[in-house]
Symmetry: C2
Subunit: 740 residues, 2 copies
């Protein structure tokens, strides 16, 4: 009986165990965790970051660049079209491409010289005999410069026309330069020669016209670009410096985007303003020339010695006034004549777009972009950036195609067209998809010229991006050093933060130098601009010397900018790391308290520079101070909410809510009516300004104007701008506060 | 042995069963469903809707109204302050109140008459002897009208000043009226008497001034308000009609919001424009009067017979011209004199805010609002709406306090101040919290005058709200009938929908008649305006006759507008139902395909009215047609995504994604630069317009202007507006399309 009992117990025990196992594992609980719970709580995978950094290859970047710079690829030329095809081929590659890629064309207003009838700048004597002709092409050191597709140096959007007059040297062509000059010289009917720098390209001509100047020449002074070097034996191809015949081309306009379709995407049927209504372009014939020719003109000028600040790199004293050439010159009593044959055309220009669809939040976008068009071969500008972008898409695309990775959020890559003519491709894109992009874009990363020089990282961006830029740059080794990009960076550009102590200095995006402008200024999308940059103790060059010339070639880039392409690689690793963190992190790596620090810094500057003046006129800055305090308080509160959360365990709607607050922070600073005179500048903190005080732009410009005029109406405008920025900051603070 | 075996088997079977049960229920699976999964997938609870409808009580509404209308409560008066306290008390009630309630004050620019020195309108003979004086107060039928707090009838924002001149009758004071009159009468130096209707209040004076008119009187013609009845024995208190001495007060301004702080919330330190820069207010003294006095003046006028369209309800022929009184009149050769003593003041005005925090998506807001200020006792305008709002908050608040319910999304209630002076409280609120509200608001429900009359529901709103308005109105019984509010509504106001056949007609929110304006036009927030309304076969009154007079009292409302308060209750039930559905539905009840239908309707009208004219001038409407087609296609696609989803089972981020698309749809139509001349109108589909064609406002106005002038520049503006609306519709379509 015992045996039976034991057997029965055993049977029972076995059955119980089997039952328990069956019950636990074989029967699906009605409330078992749905599959998506895991996905929704997934954070960035450091293994993926590591793999990305390993895979990003300098030689691949080099070969990308070689391919991209085979021929000149100015916007809408056959060379540009070839790069469109190249990008599409790469992004559609079944093994290394993206989920999808396509082109989007806009019909944009461009300006070109006339190949059959090149622009001419000459010195003509009173009998109209030509004594001197400025070169029409840059000197060829390699066959590349002789490529018939190399566009003649010109000032895009300068009107066609003939101008003749006595030459005067007008320094940088600022209003103050002409004003000073005009105090002793009657500028009416003259031709002004100005050097690059200190004033926007078209500004030099717009200012000139106000004083009756009839034509403008612009050149690059050896002091500004070549650290004073002008001797041909010491310039490219012997060094990175600009050869004497090199000419910086450029777009001579102030507003960005297609000039005929303000705020509207330039489609076929889109309304176009009459050409006469275009603002911000030269009203008089304008032409850039090389310093070789500028030397031949400037050193022959008559007049008293120009002020010290006006002197440049030539071995003669720059003269003030005249007008015209000195009596001892072979140009004596001659005029300078401009014959400009530029013409405008509406042409289709393509953006190339590529995407990786997000797995968890496909309706959140991280956008990474660069323009594709160049002036000539554009090895550095912009192909160094495109070469990096293509290497990032190769590595990410491969992981996606192999099924090893898919980002949490969607990633959009943009290869913009016609940037050189005024950020046109990116601007039209933001106009066409305004609402969609405004609602969903987490951040925009711009890598245009990826390597200016090989000394250090340089990054600018919304203050909230500082943290992710630091995280990423700490994980990448700085080429030619044993330290990280971060540790190298802090040696070159740093600042003392009240919160962090000494840290690398992330610049602010206050201008419109590249395609980040429509994103940060027009859409209020948190943006970054990333590159490798100069050691300023080694050079004072305005920019790398071959900029916008026929010498910006693969040869130049690989010999003098980044031999071995390791700085390109460092940029690819840093920007790629930032990109993946923005796309994959459960909590967006955007820090609102860092934004508070920048606002406090701006407030301090504003108080220092303007408070006494404002109080004097009866305007209090207290409400602005309160708004900045409120912002700090709200940011601290949101940071506490984040600290006290366990987002991976809580409802995904909580992470989404906080991420929306962080994502939309820059959007809260937009005011479409704040700067009616500045096209598409809507971000009241980072808009461009003329004031030199590093603070809120509307307030700074308005106070300085009011100080100048002393007019009541101008002081009222200062008060208005104080209220605008106060409301924007308080409004942004409200978005960081408790959501209800 | 069999027994043992059987016993053993039984033991085993029992043990197995126990084991299975233990295994299934007693051992917690590591991957069991987190608690929030259930919450996140919760849909609207029809039981809660049912309970809400049951609890909303007509007698409670009646008592709310009695309390709210005890004293006159014009903005910023002691009576207004008493209603602030009353709202706060109710919303802070521990048993029936909301989660939180508070007041927010703005310092707003208002205009009042002078109690010590009332405005005067007199007829004076050439020796300045006063022959006739217009009454300064309305006749008292009850002590209410004698309350010293009843403000003298006046035209808010009319300037103070004295004007004297010959009287002319100018119909409705439209530009065309003055133009016609001016063709035979020299209007310079005259006083114009105009009737309400046909032109905005201040427009009557602004137009007049252009013709040299020096003062304006405005009265309510018995034909326009009383179905022709003017006999005192047939007007209130004998019927709902306006007594002969009744005067419609009103705010004489065009722009909404505080007039001194455009686009800025009117805080203490906010910049204020100089008073001279205020636009849209009367440039000349203006005063409203009753028809009793208007009769005494108009029927004495000289001139030929006025056109038929100018005739009104008096038993005399309205005359055209003069100017001045007829020679047989006792007023012969007399002038009319206006002595206006209005003055402007900046005063603190309160919004009262109350909230219920959302449980799942607290960062999504459904806003429900109405203004609190009246002109006098304001029983109908606005207290009928406030009485309804308080009943809704009582019922919802009680459920919250009892722990029976909490909405998925947050609900914000707003009791706006100073609406009568130009939607000031709501406008300042949207300016101060612009970003937060833009990012998070699902919809705004406005119930101002909740009952104009007791015949039928009337609703206006974004097209996407049609479905939820129908769902709600089908669940509510129409008072005095055996059918639903929906079935009753369709009898009075209907249209034929290509998709649904005959349905009730939901109007469009194209004007700025109440506090929905800053939400829909400035912020692009999907909005609704809900009320009970007239049987148009019974009355042609412009509006309920006691509107803005001292007769708009509890007595009037309870006797002649809604005896028994059952229409109030029907509005409470319908609007409350809509509110809870918007707050609780897993999928937002906003339909994008219904929006497509409205755009198609507008397109048809535009093509019919304008295409031939545009083609004639070389402008194609094809891109607009394509944009509307694209919108339809994208809406159909999103509807298919919704249909193919099981949102309760999928990641909550999917419902959130789709809901964001629906929530932000109206936002996509905003263009802050489309209508620079129309303050805060940014919605390119619903902005106000002067054209009578029911279509896209910018296009319609621009084409009509161009037709009138024939100027090339005006046709270019028409093309521009065509491009603006095309881009807005295409841009909105992109937001409905695949998210990536």
């Amino acid at each position: 009986m015992l045996k039976e009992v034991l057997l029965g117990l055993l049977t029972g025990a076995v059955a119980l165990t089997v039952g328990i196992l069956l019950g636990h594992f074989a029967i699906n609980k009605g409330t078992s965790e749905p599959e998506w719970v895991q996905d929704a709580s997934q954070d960035v995978d450091e293994g993926i970051i590591k793999k990305l950094l390993e895979e990003l290859d300098n030689i691949q970047i080099q070969e990308n660049l070689r391919e991209l710079t085979k021929v000149p690829h100015m916007a809408t030329t056959p060379g540009d079209e070839a790069t469109v095809e190249f990008m599409l081929k790469r992004w559609r590659d079944p093994e290394t491409g993206l989920d999808n890629a396509w082109r989007e064309d806009y019909n944009v207003y461009l300006s070109f010289p006339n190949k059959a009838n090149p622009n001419k700048v000459t010195v003509v004597d009173p009998s109209d005999k030509v004594l001197f002709t400025v070169r029409e092409r840059e000197k060829a050191y390699y066959p590349e410069q002789d490529d018939p597709e190399v566009v003649q140096p010109y000032a895009a959007y300068s009107p066609a026309g003939n101008a003749k007059g006595k030459l005067v040297y007008a320094n940088q062509g600022k209003m103050s330069d002409y004003a000073l000059l005009n105090a002793t010289v009657d500028l009416r009917g003259t031709i002004a020669i100005t050097r690059y720098g200190g004033e926007g390209r078209s500004g030099k001509a717009i200012n000139a016209e106000k004083y009756g100047v009839v034509g403008v020449l612009v050149y690059t002074d050896p002091n500004d670009i070549n650290d004073g070097i002008s001797d041909e034996s010491k310039t490219y191809p012997h060094s990175w410096y600009l050869p004497p015949s090199g000419v910086e081309r450029g777009s001579y306009n102030i507003d960005f985007g297609d000039l005929l379709t303000p705020y509207l995407a330039a489609k076929e049927d889109t309304y176009r303003i009459p050409k006469e209504k275009i603002r911000g372009i030269p009203p008089i014939p304008t032409q850039p020339i090389g310093f070789e020719d500028a030397y031949a003109l400037i050193c022959e000028l008559d007049g008293t010695d120009a002020p010290a600040a006006w002197q440049g790199g030539f071995n003669c004293t720059y003269k003030f006034g005249g007008p015209g050439f000195k009596s001892t010159s072979h140009f004596n009593s001659s005029d300078v004549q401009l014959n400009i044959y530029n013409s405008e055309e509406i042409k289709p220009s393509a953006n190339v777009m590529g995407i990786i669809r997000g797995s968890v939040e496909p309706d959140r976008y991280v956008i990474y972009g660069n323009h594709r068009d160049s002036w000539v071969h554009g090895a550095i500008d912009p192909s160094s950036g495109t070469a990096v972008m293509l290497e990032i898409t190769r590595v990410l695309g491969t992981m996606v195609k192999e099924g090893k990775w898919r980002p949490r959020r969607s990633i959009i890559f943009g290869s913009w067209g016609a940037e050189e003519f005024g950020l046109i491709g990116s601007a039209e894109y933001t106009e066409e998809y305004f609402s969609k992009l405004s609602e969903r874009t987490v951040a925009y990363i711009n890598v245009d010229i990826s390597v200016f020089a090989n000394a250090t990282l340089r990054a600018s961006g919304s203050p909230s991006t500082q943290g992710v830029l630091f995280t990423a740059s700490k994980q990448v080794g700085a080429p030619g050093t044993t330290v990280s990009v971060y540790d190298n960076w802090i040696k070159y550009y740093n600042r003392s933060s009240p919160n962090y102590g000494l840290i690398p200095n992330v610049g602010f995006l206050t201008g419109a130098g590249s395609d980040y402008a429509p994103f940060i200024h027009y859409l209020g999308i948190t943006s970054m601009d990333i590159s490798y940059y100069y050691d300023r103790s080694q050079t004072k060059a305005r920019i790398y010397p071959a900029y916008h010339t026929a010498y910006d070639t693969f040869d130049y880039a690989s010999k003098y900018i980044d031999p071995g392409f390791t700085s390109h690689q460092a940029v690819a690793r840093t920007a790629g790391n930032v990109l993946v963190r923005l796309a994959d992190s459960l909590l967006l790596p955007l820090n609102c308290s860092d934004y508070a620090e920048s606002l406090e810094q701006y407030l301090d500057e504003a108080v220092k520079a303007f408070e006494a003046k404002l109080i004097n006129i009866g305007i209090s800055m207290d409400s602005l101070k309160n708004a900045v305090q409120l912002f700090r308080k709200s940011a601290t509160k949101l940071d506490a909410v984040i600290r006290d959360s366990n987002l991976a365990k809580e409802t995904p709607l909580k992470a989404r809510r906080i991420n929306d607050q962080l994502m939309l922070l820059d959007r809260a600073f937009l005011d479409p009516l704040a700067f009616p005179e500045k096209y598409a500048f809507r971000h009241v903190i980072w808009a461009s300004k003329s004031s030199g005080v590093p603070t809120f732009p509307g307030l700074a410009d308005a106070v300085e104007k009011a100080e100048g005029t002393g007019l009541k109406a101008d002081w009222e405008q200062a008060h208005k701008h104080l209220s605008i920025v106060t409301q924007a900051i308080a409004g942004a603070a409200h978005t960081l506060d408790d959501v209800i």
